[in-house]
Symmetry: C2
Subunit: 220 residues, 2 copies
DNA sequence: TAGATTGTTAATCGATTAACAATC
DNA sequence: TAGATTGTTAATCGATTAACAATC
Protein backbone atom coordinates (compact mmCIF):
# COMPACT_ATOMS: atom_id res chain seq x y z
CA UNK A 1 0.00 0.00 0.00
CA UNK A 2 2.40 2.67 1.19
CA UNK A 3 4.98 3.43 -1.41
CA UNK A 4 8.50 3.64 -0.17
CA UNK A 5 9.81 7.20 0.08
CA UNK A 6 13.33 7.61 -1.28
CA UNK A 7 16.05 8.69 1.10
CA UNK A 8 16.84 11.62 -1.21
CA UNK A 9 13.40 13.03 -0.38
CA UNK A 10 13.67 12.34 3.35
CA UNK A 11 17.02 14.10 3.52
CA UNK A 12 15.43 17.24 2.11
CA UNK A 13 12.43 17.33 4.45
CA UNK A 14 14.24 18.87 7.44
CA UNK A 15 15.46 21.71 5.27
CA UNK A 16 11.94 22.40 4.06
CA UNK A 17 10.86 22.36 7.69
CA UNK A 18 13.51 24.90 8.56
CA UNK A 19 12.58 27.26 5.75
CA UNK A 20 8.89 26.98 6.52
CA UNK A 21 9.61 27.78 10.18
CA UNK A 22 11.53 30.87 9.10
CA UNK A 23 8.69 31.99 6.83
CA UNK A 24 6.24 31.54 9.66
CA UNK A 25 8.45 33.63 11.95
CA UNK A 26 8.39 36.33 9.30
CA UNK A 27 4.62 36.26 9.33
CA UNK A 28 4.32 34.81 5.84
CA UNK A 29 1.36 32.46 5.76
CA UNK A 30 1.30 31.45 2.10
CA UNK A 31 3.94 30.43 -0.44
CA UNK A 32 4.12 28.96 -3.92
CA UNK A 33 6.58 26.32 -5.03
CA UNK A 34 8.09 28.97 -7.30
CA UNK A 35 8.82 31.44 -4.52
CA UNK A 36 10.11 28.72 -2.24
CA UNK A 37 12.35 27.39 -5.00
CA UNK A 38 14.02 30.78 -5.33
CA UNK A 39 14.59 31.08 -1.59
CA UNK A 40 15.93 27.56 -1.22
CA UNK A 41 17.80 27.38 -4.47
CA UNK A 42 16.15 24.20 -5.73
CA UNK A 43 13.68 23.68 -8.57
CA UNK A 44 9.97 24.26 -8.05
CA UNK A 45 9.41 20.95 -9.75
CA UNK A 46 11.42 19.13 -7.12
CA UNK A 47 9.51 20.84 -4.33
CA UNK A 48 6.16 19.78 -5.78
CA UNK A 49 7.39 16.26 -6.45
CA UNK A 50 8.71 15.98 -2.92
CA UNK A 51 5.51 17.13 -1.27
CA UNK A 52 3.38 14.96 -3.49
CA UNK A 53 5.06 11.87 -2.19
CA UNK A 54 2.86 12.37 0.84
CA UNK A 55 -0.30 13.56 -0.89
CA UNK A 56 -1.30 17.03 -1.93
CA UNK A 57 -0.57 19.74 0.61
CA UNK A 58 -1.26 22.66 -1.72
CA UNK A 59 -4.06 24.19 -3.69
CA UNK A 60 -4.04 25.05 -7.37
CA UNK A 61 -3.88 28.77 -8.03
CA UNK A 62 -3.03 29.49 -4.40
CA UNK A 63 0.10 27.62 -3.39
CA UNK A 64 0.79 26.22 0.04
CA UNK A 65 -0.34 27.36 3.46
CA UNK A 66 2.92 27.71 5.39
CA UNK A 67 1.61 26.77 8.82
CA UNK A 68 -0.29 23.74 7.54
CA UNK A 69 2.59 22.55 5.38
CA UNK A 70 5.09 22.95 8.20
CA UNK A 71 2.92 20.94 10.53
CA UNK A 72 2.36 18.19 7.99
CA UNK A 73 6.08 17.86 7.33
CA UNK A 74 6.65 17.90 11.07
CA UNK A 75 4.25 14.99 11.46
CA UNK A 76 5.97 13.07 8.65
CA UNK A 77 9.28 13.59 10.45
CA UNK A 78 7.75 12.43 13.72
CA UNK A 79 8.31 15.77 15.42
CA UNK A 80 4.93 15.55 17.08
CA UNK A 81 6.35 12.78 19.25
CA UNK A 82 8.35 13.07 22.45
CA UNK A 83 11.71 11.30 22.49
CA UNK A 84 13.84 10.46 25.50
CA UNK A 85 17.55 10.65 24.81
CA UNK A 86 20.48 9.27 26.75
CA UNK A 87 24.04 10.30 26.04
CA UNK A 88 26.78 7.71 26.15
CA UNK A 89 30.11 9.36 26.87
CA UNK A 90 30.47 12.52 28.96
CA UNK A 91 33.39 13.99 27.00
CA UNK A 92 33.43 17.42 25.41
CA UNK A 93 30.89 16.56 22.78
CA UNK A 94 28.60 14.58 25.08
CA UNK A 95 28.48 17.43 27.57
CA UNK A 96 27.88 19.95 24.80
CA UNK A 97 24.90 17.94 23.59
CA UNK A 98 23.56 17.58 27.12
CA UNK A 99 23.77 21.33 27.62
CA UNK A 100 22.28 22.15 24.29
CA UNK A 101 18.76 23.21 25.18
CA UNK A 102 17.72 23.73 21.58
CA UNK A 103 16.84 20.06 21.19
CA UNK A 104 14.38 19.99 24.04
CA UNK A 105 12.21 22.55 22.27
CA UNK A 106 11.78 20.07 19.49
CA UNK A 107 10.65 17.18 21.61
CA UNK A 108 14.01 15.60 22.33
CA UNK A 109 14.49 15.30 26.08
CA UNK A 110 17.93 14.41 27.34
CA UNK A 111 17.28 12.31 30.44
CA UNK A 112 20.61 10.65 31.17
CA UNK A 113 24.33 10.83 30.54
CA UNK A 114 26.77 7.99 31.19
CA UNK A 115 30.51 7.44 31.31
CA UNK A 116 33.03 4.93 32.62
CA UNK A 117 35.55 7.49 33.84
CA UNK A 118 35.47 7.80 37.67
CA UNK A 119 36.59 11.44 37.33
CA UNK A 120 33.45 12.25 35.37
CA UNK A 121 30.90 10.12 37.21
CA UNK A 122 28.87 12.18 39.64
CA UNK A 123 29.77 15.51 38.06
CA UNK A 124 26.77 17.55 36.98
CA UNK A 125 26.16 18.39 33.35
CA UNK A 126 23.31 20.82 32.89
CA UNK A 127 20.52 19.51 35.06
CA UNK A 128 21.87 15.96 34.97
CA UNK A 129 24.52 14.06 36.83
CA UNK A 130 26.92 11.75 35.01
CA UNK A 131 26.07 8.16 35.86
CA UNK A 132 28.30 5.13 35.88
CA UNK A 133 27.98 3.08 32.71
CA UNK A 134 27.25 0.06 34.91
CA UNK A 135 23.95 1.66 35.88
CA UNK A 136 22.87 1.80 32.25
CA UNK A 137 20.87 -1.43 32.26
CA UNK A 138 18.90 -0.50 35.33
CA UNK A 139 18.24 3.00 34.04
CA UNK A 140 16.95 1.80 30.69
CA UNK A 141 14.69 -0.74 32.37
CA UNK A 142 13.18 1.88 34.66
CA UNK A 143 12.94 4.82 32.28
CA UNK A 144 11.62 5.29 28.77
CA UNK A 145 14.48 5.78 26.33
CA UNK A 146 14.14 5.85 22.56
CA UNK A 147 17.39 7.44 21.44
CA UNK A 148 21.02 6.88 22.41
CA UNK A 149 23.54 9.55 21.43
CA UNK A 150 26.94 7.91 21.12
CA UNK A 151 29.79 10.26 21.95
CA UNK A 152 32.17 7.65 23.27
CA UNK A 153 35.49 6.40 21.90
CA UNK A 154 35.30 4.87 18.43
CA UNK A 155 36.37 1.44 19.56
CA UNK A 156 33.63 1.23 22.19
CA UNK A 157 30.75 2.46 20.07
CA UNK A 158 29.69 -0.67 18.14
CA UNK A 159 29.69 -2.83 21.27
CA UNK A 160 27.70 -0.40 23.38
CA UNK A 161 25.29 0.14 20.50
CA UNK A 162 24.64 -3.58 20.30
CA UNK A 163 23.96 -3.73 24.05
CA UNK A 164 21.57 -0.82 23.81
CA UNK A 165 19.74 -2.44 20.94
CA UNK A 166 19.34 -5.59 23.00
CA UNK A 167 17.86 -3.43 25.75
CA UNK A 168 15.23 -2.26 23.28
CA UNK A 169 16.64 1.07 22.13
CA UNK A 170 16.34 1.43 18.36
CA UNK A 171 17.39 5.02 17.70
CA UNK A 172 21.10 5.86 17.47
CA UNK A 173 22.66 9.25 17.02
CA UNK A 174 26.20 8.18 16.31
CA UNK A 175 29.05 10.66 16.71
CA UNK A 176 31.76 8.00 16.89
CA UNK A 177 34.02 7.68 13.85
CA UNK A 178 32.83 4.21 12.94
CA UNK A 179 29.90 2.38 11.44
CA UNK A 180 27.84 0.65 14.10
CA UNK A 181 27.03 -2.47 12.04
CA UNK A 182 23.61 -2.89 13.59
CA UNK A 183 20.79 -4.92 12.03
CA UNK A 184 18.44 -2.96 9.83
CA UNK A 185 15.67 -2.65 12.39
CA UNK A 186 17.89 -0.06 14.09
CA UNK A 187 17.59 3.59 13.04
CA UNK A 188 21.08 5.05 12.84
CA UNK A 189 21.93 8.64 12.07
CA UNK A 190 25.65 9.24 11.76
CA UNK A 191 27.34 12.55 12.49
CA UNK A 192 30.86 11.90 11.32
CA UNK A 193 32.63 15.17 12.05
CA UNK A 194 35.98 13.95 10.79
CA UNK A 195 34.42 13.01 7.44
CA UNK A 196 32.70 16.37 7.31
CA UNK A 197 36.05 18.10 7.78
CA UNK A 198 37.59 15.99 5.05
CA UNK A 199 34.89 17.05 2.60
CA UNK A 200 35.53 20.64 3.59
CA UNK A 201 39.22 20.09 3.01
CA UNK A 202 38.47 18.72 -0.45
CA UNK A 203 36.21 21.62 -1.29
CA UNK A 204 38.74 24.21 -0.16
CA UNK A 205 41.44 22.52 -2.21
CA UNK A 206 39.12 22.51 -5.24
CA UNK A 207 37.59 25.97 -5.13
CA UNK A 208 37.14 27.09 -8.72
CA UNK A 209 39.25 30.16 -9.38
CA UNK A 210 38.30 32.80 -11.88
CA UNK A 211 41.58 32.32 -13.67
CA UNK A 212 40.79 28.68 -14.41
CA UNK A 213 38.90 26.65 -16.95
CA UNK A 214 35.61 27.87 -18.41
CA UNK A 215 35.66 31.00 -16.37
CA UNK A 216 38.81 32.33 -17.90
CA UNK A 217 36.89 34.52 -20.30
CA UNK A 218 33.97 35.45 -18.12
CA UNK A 219 35.52 38.31 -16.18
CA UNK A 220 37.79 41.20 -17.22
CA UNK B 1 40.87 18.79 -19.19
CA UNK B 2 39.98 17.65 -15.71
CA UNK B 3 36.60 16.06 -15.62
CA UNK B 4 34.34 17.20 -12.85
CA UNK B 5 34.00 14.67 -10.04
CA UNK B 6 30.43 14.21 -8.87
CA UNK B 7 29.57 15.13 -5.30
CA UNK B 8 28.23 11.61 -4.79
CA UNK B 9 31.76 10.31 -5.24
CA UNK B 10 33.35 12.98 -3.05
CA UNK B 11 30.95 12.23 -0.23
CA UNK B 12 32.09 8.62 -0.24
CA UNK B 13 35.83 9.30 -0.23
CA UNK B 14 36.15 10.01 3.51
CA UNK B 15 34.47 6.72 4.29
CA UNK B 16 36.92 4.87 2.07
CA UNK B 17 39.69 6.71 3.84
CA UNK B 18 38.36 5.59 7.20
CA UNK B 19 38.09 1.95 6.17
CA UNK B 20 41.54 1.97 4.61
CA UNK B 21 42.98 3.45 7.80
CA UNK B 22 41.34 0.67 9.81
CA UNK B 23 42.73 -1.98 7.47
CA UNK B 24 46.17 -0.48 7.80
CA UNK B 25 45.88 -0.54 11.61
CA UNK B 26 45.03 -4.20 11.32
CA UNK B 27 48.18 -4.78 9.34
CA UNK B 28 46.34 -5.59 6.12
CA UNK B 29 48.37 -4.25 3.22
CA UNK B 30 46.35 -5.45 0.25
CA UNK B 31 42.64 -5.57 -0.59
CA UNK B 32 40.43 -6.27 -3.58
CA UNK B 33 37.35 -4.29 -4.47
CA UNK B 34 35.36 -7.44 -3.71
CA UNK B 35 36.60 -7.78 -0.15
CA UNK B 36 36.26 -4.08 0.52
CA UNK B 37 32.73 -4.12 -0.87
CA UNK B 38 31.74 -6.78 1.65
CA UNK B 39 33.25 -4.86 4.56
CA UNK B 40 31.73 -1.55 3.55
CA UNK B 41 28.43 -2.88 2.31
CA UNK B 42 28.61 -1.28 -1.11
CA UNK B 43 29.11 -2.84 -4.56
CA UNK B 44 32.57 -3.68 -5.82
CA UNK B 45 31.59 -2.02 -9.05
CA UNK B 46 30.97 1.26 -7.30
CA UNK B 47 34.31 1.08 -5.54
CA UNK B 48 36.16 0.55 -8.80
CA UNK B 49 34.20 3.28 -10.55
CA UNK B 50 34.88 5.70 -7.71
CA UNK B 51 38.61 5.10 -7.66
CA UNK B 52 38.87 5.26 -11.42
CA UNK B 53 37.60 8.81 -11.40
CA UNK B 54 41.10 9.67 -10.29
CA UNK B 55 43.04 7.20 -12.40
CA UNK B 56 43.92 3.63 -11.66
CA UNK B 57 45.10 2.93 -8.15
CA UNK B 58 44.99 -0.84 -8.43
CA UNK B 59 46.56 -3.65 -10.31
CA UNK B 60 44.77 -6.39 -12.23
CA UNK B 61 44.95 -9.75 -10.53
CA UNK B 62 46.24 -8.20 -7.31
CA UNK B 63 43.84 -5.59 -6.05
CA UNK B 64 44.80 -2.41 -4.24
CA UNK B 65 47.72 -1.64 -1.97
CA UNK B 66 46.07 -0.31 1.17
CA UNK B 67 48.77 2.13 2.21
CA UNK B 68 49.17 3.56 -1.28
CA UNK B 69 45.43 3.85 -1.85
CA UNK B 70 44.87 5.50 1.51
CA UNK B 71 47.55 8.08 0.79
CA UNK B 72 46.23 8.80 -2.68
CA UNK B 73 42.72 9.37 -1.35
CA UNK B 74 44.20 11.49 1.40
CA UNK B 75 45.89 13.65 -1.20
CA UNK B 76 42.67 13.99 -3.19
CA UNK B 77 40.92 15.12 -0.02
CA UNK B 78 43.70 17.61 0.67
CA UNK B 79 44.69 15.92 3.92
CA UNK B 80 48.35 16.44 3.12
CA UNK B 81 47.79 20.13 3.76
CA UNK B 82 47.84 22.02 7.03
CA UNK B 83 44.75 24.07 7.83
CA UNK B 84 44.38 26.79 10.44
CA UNK B 85 40.95 26.90 12.01
CA UNK B 86 39.28 29.61 14.04
CA UNK B 87 36.11 28.99 15.99
CA UNK B 88 33.43 31.64 16.07
CA UNK B 89 31.30 31.26 19.18
CA UNK B 90 32.61 29.90 22.47
CA UNK B 91 29.42 28.14 23.52
CA UNK B 92 29.15 24.45 24.39
CA UNK B 93 29.77 23.27 20.89
CA UNK B 94 32.53 25.75 20.10
CA UNK B 95 34.41 24.79 23.25
CA UNK B 96 33.92 21.10 22.51
CA UNK B 97 35.44 21.54 19.06
CA UNK B 98 38.34 23.56 20.49
CA UNK B 99 39.06 20.79 22.97
CA UNK B 100 38.72 18.03 20.48
CA UNK B 101 42.29 17.04 19.85
CA UNK B 102 41.39 14.46 17.22
CA UNK B 103 41.31 17.10 14.50
CA UNK B 104 44.83 18.28 15.07
CA UNK B 105 46.17 14.87 14.19
CA UNK B 106 44.64 15.27 10.76
CA UNK B 107 46.19 18.61 9.97
CA UNK B 108 43.49 20.89 11.31
CA UNK B 109 44.98 23.26 13.83
CA UNK B 110 42.60 25.31 15.96
CA UNK B 111 44.38 28.61 16.47
CA UNK B 112 41.69 30.94 17.75
CA UNK B 113 38.28 31.10 19.37
CA UNK B 114 36.09 34.20 19.50
CA UNK B 115 32.92 35.36 21.20
CA UNK B 116 31.05 38.56 21.98
CA UNK B 117 30.03 37.57 25.51
CA UNK B 118 32.13 39.43 28.13
CA UNK B 119 31.63 36.49 30.50
CA UNK B 120 33.40 34.20 28.04
CA UNK B 121 36.11 36.51 26.74
CA UNK B 122 39.44 35.82 28.42
CA UNK B 123 38.44 32.38 29.68
CA UNK B 124 40.73 29.61 28.57
CA UNK B 125 39.54 26.80 26.34
CA UNK B 126 42.09 24.08 25.90
CA UNK B 127 45.33 25.85 25.16
CA UNK B 128 43.53 28.93 23.84
CA UNK B 129 41.95 31.99 25.36
CA UNK B 130 38.59 33.26 24.15
CA UNK B 131 39.11 36.51 22.28
CA UNK B 132 36.74 39.39 21.77
CA UNK B 133 35.02 39.25 18.40
CA UNK B 134 36.24 42.79 17.79
CA UNK B 135 39.79 41.45 17.60
CA UNK B 136 38.82 39.14 14.74
CA UNK B 137 39.94 41.44 11.93
CA UNK B 138 43.35 42.04 13.42
CA UNK B 139 43.82 38.37 14.16
CA UNK B 140 42.99 37.27 10.65
CA UNK B 141 45.29 39.88 9.18
CA UNK B 142 48.19 38.76 11.34
CA UNK B 143 47.69 34.98 11.26
CA UNK B 144 47.06 32.43 8.55
CA UNK B 145 43.47 31.18 8.73
CA UNK B 146 41.80 28.98 6.13
CA UNK B 147 38.78 27.62 7.96
CA UNK B 148 36.15 29.24 10.16
CA UNK B 149 34.00 26.98 12.31
CA UNK B 150 30.71 28.72 12.98
CA UNK B 151 29.16 27.76 16.30
CA UNK B 152 27.40 31.03 16.95
CA UNK B 153 23.69 31.86 17.08
CA UNK B 154 21.80 31.17 13.88
CA UNK B 155 20.88 34.78 13.27
CA UNK B 156 24.51 35.92 13.46
CA UNK B 157 26.03 33.23 11.25
CA UNK B 158 25.37 34.55 7.72
CA UNK B 159 26.62 38.05 8.57
CA UNK B 160 29.79 36.87 10.26
CA UNK B 161 30.42 34.42 7.42
CA UNK B 162 30.21 37.25 4.89
CA UNK B 163 32.69 39.32 6.91
CA UNK B 164 35.10 36.40 7.12
CA UNK B 165 34.85 35.81 3.39
CA UNK B 166 35.70 39.44 2.80
CA UNK B 167 38.74 38.95 5.02
CA UNK B 168 39.86 36.18 2.69
CA UNK B 169 38.66 33.06 4.50
CA UNK B 170 37.02 30.65 2.09
CA UNK B 171 36.41 27.54 4.19
CA UNK B 172 33.35 27.36 6.42
CA UNK B 173 32.39 24.61 8.81
CA UNK B 174 28.89 25.70 9.61
CA UNK B 175 27.13 24.41 12.72
CA UNK B 176 24.50 27.15 12.77
CA UNK B 177 20.97 26.12 11.79
CA UNK B 178 20.89 28.23 8.66
CA UNK B 179 22.24 28.39 5.14
CA UNK B 180 25.05 30.92 4.85
CA UNK B 181 24.11 32.18 1.37
CA UNK B 182 27.70 32.79 0.38
CA UNK B 183 28.90 33.10 -3.23
CA UNK B 184 30.07 29.88 -4.80
CA UNK B 185 33.76 30.55 -4.41
CA UNK B 186 33.24 29.76 -0.71
CA UNK B 187 33.59 26.16 0.46
CA UNK B 188 30.82 25.46 2.94
CA UNK B 189 30.33 22.26 4.87
CA UNK B 190 27.17 22.24 6.93
CA UNK B 191 26.70 20.23 10.11
CA UNK B 192 23.04 20.73 10.82
CA UNK B 193 22.50 18.78 14.03
CA UNK B 194 18.82 19.66 14.27
CA UNK B 195 18.24 18.29 10.77
CA UNK B 196 20.18 15.19 11.63
CA UNK B 197 17.94 14.62 14.65
CA UNK B 198 14.85 15.10 12.49
CA UNK B 199 16.03 12.43 10.07
CA UNK B 200 16.63 10.15 13.04
CA UNK B 201 13.15 10.91 14.26
CA UNK B 202 11.73 9.98 10.86
CA UNK B 203 13.71 6.78 10.75
CA UNK B 204 12.62 5.73 14.23
CA UNK B 205 9.00 6.44 13.36
CA UNK B 206 9.37 4.37 10.19
CA UNK B 207 11.30 1.35 11.37
CA UNK B 208 10.01 -1.64 9.42
CA UNK B 209 8.45 -4.14 11.82
CA UNK B 210 8.39 -7.84 11.17
CA UNK B 211 4.63 -7.83 11.43
CA UNK B 212 4.31 -5.44 8.50
CA UNK B 213 4.23 -5.53 4.72
CA UNK B 214 6.47 -7.89 2.76
CA UNK B 215 8.06 -9.24 5.87
CA UNK B 216 4.89 -10.73 7.27
CA UNK B 217 5.77 -14.15 5.97
CA UNK B 218 9.50 -14.10 6.40
CA UNK B 219 9.76 -15.04 10.06
CA UNK B 220 7.84 -17.57 12.18
C1' DT C 1 -14.34 34.09 -15.26
C1' DA C 2 -9.26 34.50 -15.99
C1' DG C 3 -4.97 33.87 -13.84
C1' DA C 4 -2.20 31.32 -11.07
C1' DT C 5 -0.32 27.36 -9.45
C1' DT C 6 -0.68 22.71 -8.17
C1' DG C 7 -0.58 17.62 -9.12
C1' DT C 8 1.12 14.44 -12.18
C1' DT C 9 2.83 12.39 -16.35
C1' DA C 10 6.58 12.25 -19.60
C1' DA C 11 11.42 13.32 -20.83
C1' DT C 12 15.95 13.87 -19.39
C1' DC C 13 19.74 13.38 -16.87
C1' DG C 14 22.99 11.24 -13.83
C1' DA C 15 24.42 7.60 -10.89
C1' DT C 16 24.71 2.76 -10.00
C1' DT C 17 25.26 -1.86 -11.39
C1' DA C 18 26.53 -5.49 -14.55
C1' DA C 19 29.54 -7.45 -17.70
C1' DC C 20 33.73 -8.48 -19.71
C1' DA C 21 38.03 -7.59 -22.13
C1' DA C 22 42.60 -6.17 -20.65
C1' DT C 23 46.36 -7.36 -17.93
C1' DC C 24 49.03 -8.29 -13.91
C1' DT D 1 50.75 -19.96 -17.74
C1' DA D 2 46.22 -19.78 -15.36
C1' DG D 3 43.67 -17.33 -12.09
C1' DA D 4 42.38 -13.22 -10.22
C1' DT D 5 40.96 -8.78 -10.36
C1' DT D 6 41.13 -4.36 -12.30
C1' DG D 7 39.68 -0.72 -15.67
C1' DT D 8 36.11 0.50 -18.54
C1' DT D 9 32.16 0.17 -21.52
C1' DA D 10 27.32 -0.84 -21.76
C1' DA D 11 22.81 -1.56 -19.45
C1' DT D 12 19.86 -0.42 -15.85
C1' DC D 13 17.93 2.05 -12.50
C1' DG D 14 16.41 6.03 -10.01
C1' DA D 15 16.14 10.87 -9.35
C1' DT D 16 15.51 15.35 -11.30
C1' DT D 17 13.51 18.44 -14.47
C1' DA D 18 10.17 19.86 -17.88
C1' DA D 19 5.67 20.25 -19.42
C1' DC D 20 0.94 20.71 -19.13
C1' DA D 21 -3.75 19.40 -17.98
C1' DA D 22 -6.56 19.85 -13.86
C1' DT D 23 -8.50 22.97 -10.78
C1' DC D 24 -8.79 26.41 -7.24
Amino acid sequence: MEKKISTAVIKRLPRYYRYLSELLDQGIDRISSGELSRKMNVTASQIRQDFNNFGGFGQQGYGYNVDYLKNEIGKILGLDKQYHVIILGAGNLGRALANYTGFIKRGFLVCGIFDVDPDKIGKSVGSLRVQDMSELGTFVRENPVEIAALTLPTSKAPGVAKELLDMGIYGFWNFAATDLHLPEEAAVENVHLAESLMRLSYNIANIPHESEGDKINEKE
